[in-house]
Symmetry: C2
Subunit: 223 residues, 2 copies
């Protein structure tokens, strides 16, 4: 039986323009009332996730920066450091089209940037030399520490709530969800998910952009 539902945000409970799907919000609400725990893990910054937790009534921890930082019960916990990503961003900003992203002022464990796509391979190779990774969340590029990913965050949740892997359902749609789709948890995705995420999923909904939440919750007997 599913005890915890872990949701990606952009493209999973929102549309292509990042606007929240009201039906998905109602489904989360119903799930919370039934005693299911919900968590969000996103590439976004922790004050934005703190806001989403409040305004969606999320009852579990929320993670920002792809799992690098968590808000729960009035406390923020950082699992990684931003000094490597910040220094690397300074370095590549000088030698490529990489431009620091607006929300970096609120980042604590990573750095975000935009770039012209032709610089991707070079920046990716350079990141490896620095023992860092660059990850695409579709809305911006993220410089992450090694092992800083959504799979790491789901591991923290499993331990925190003393769960079995198969009591956890993850729902996501894109590359920065890969690490949590590698775990032996239950996995569902919307139709707008990448082919790779679809291939890893136990359940692929015919619906997209938040409308898959009801389907997935029914499939796993939560609704």
């Amino acid at each position: 039986m599913i005890e915890l539902v872990v949701l990606d945000v952009d493209g999973t409970i929102t549309d292509q323009n990042r606007i929240l799907n009201p039906e998905a919000i109602s489904c989360i609400r119903t799930g919370v009332e039934k005693g299911i725990k919900f968590s969000l893990i996103s590439g976004n910054v922790i004050p934005v996730m703190f806001g989403l937790k409040t305004f969606l009534g999320i009852n579990g921890p929320v993670f920002g920066e792809n799992g690098g930082i968590m808000y729960y019960n009035g406390n923020i916990e950082k699992f990684f450091d931003k000094s490597g990503p910040v220094k690397f961003l300074e370095y590549i900003s000088k030698k490529s089209s990489a431009t620091p992203y607006f929300t970096n002022q609120w980042r604590e464990t990573s750095a975000a940037f935009s770039m012209n796509s032709e610089d991707k391979d070079m920046i990716s190779r350079e990141a490896e030399k620095w023992n860092l990774e660059i990850v695409d969340s579709k809305f911006t590029w993220h410089i992450m520490n090694r092992n800083q990913n959504k799979g790491y965050a789901v591991g923290i949740l499993k331990k925190m709530f003393n769960l079995e892997w198969n009591e956890i359902l993850v729902i996501g749609d894109s590359d920065n969800d890969n690490a949590m789709f590698q775990l032996p948890v239950k996995k569902a995705c919307p139709f707008n998910a990448t082919d790779h995420i679809k291939s890893l999923s136990d359940y692929v909904s015919e619906k997209s952009y938040g409308y898959e939440i009801k389907d997935a919750m029914k499939e796993f007997n939560i609704l």
Copy 2:
């Protein structure tokens, strides 16, 4: 004709527990598609408002800290300074039950705190001596600079979009909305509004906690 709708957040598009009303989100969406401009003004911090703008598809500026700070078009603009409120909070924390609020780390123009209600009068009198004001947003207490309020923010919006007062509709429910309800704009409120806000409103809905948005938008011919 209404060109701009200015919304309070907590208790106006959310329920008592601050959870967003899905119907209100859908109404905002429809209004945006019809070419109406929407803004949010809340006591919350600017990264949270930045997140709400994104996730609700708000097409106008959003203000945090009761109007002291604005996010629009990738820029943050501060209209007040936090040094007075921060020093005052340090001072009263030593001589009363006032306790700094978690989100102060993201505040730029004010300070927030919780307190035992018996300290309210004393702290209010002290704030006056410092040329500051304390304001209740129902979820926390805010130390504001003189003239830092939602009315000030609506004035900025009027100028920015070159509007007449009667082309602006404000919707709010509580004490920190008073200043914008003093303006010669159109005013609507939910049934859960304070008596004072109700007495200042052109339209009082019979519905509460976000369900009044559809009513109010119909009343002013937006829906």
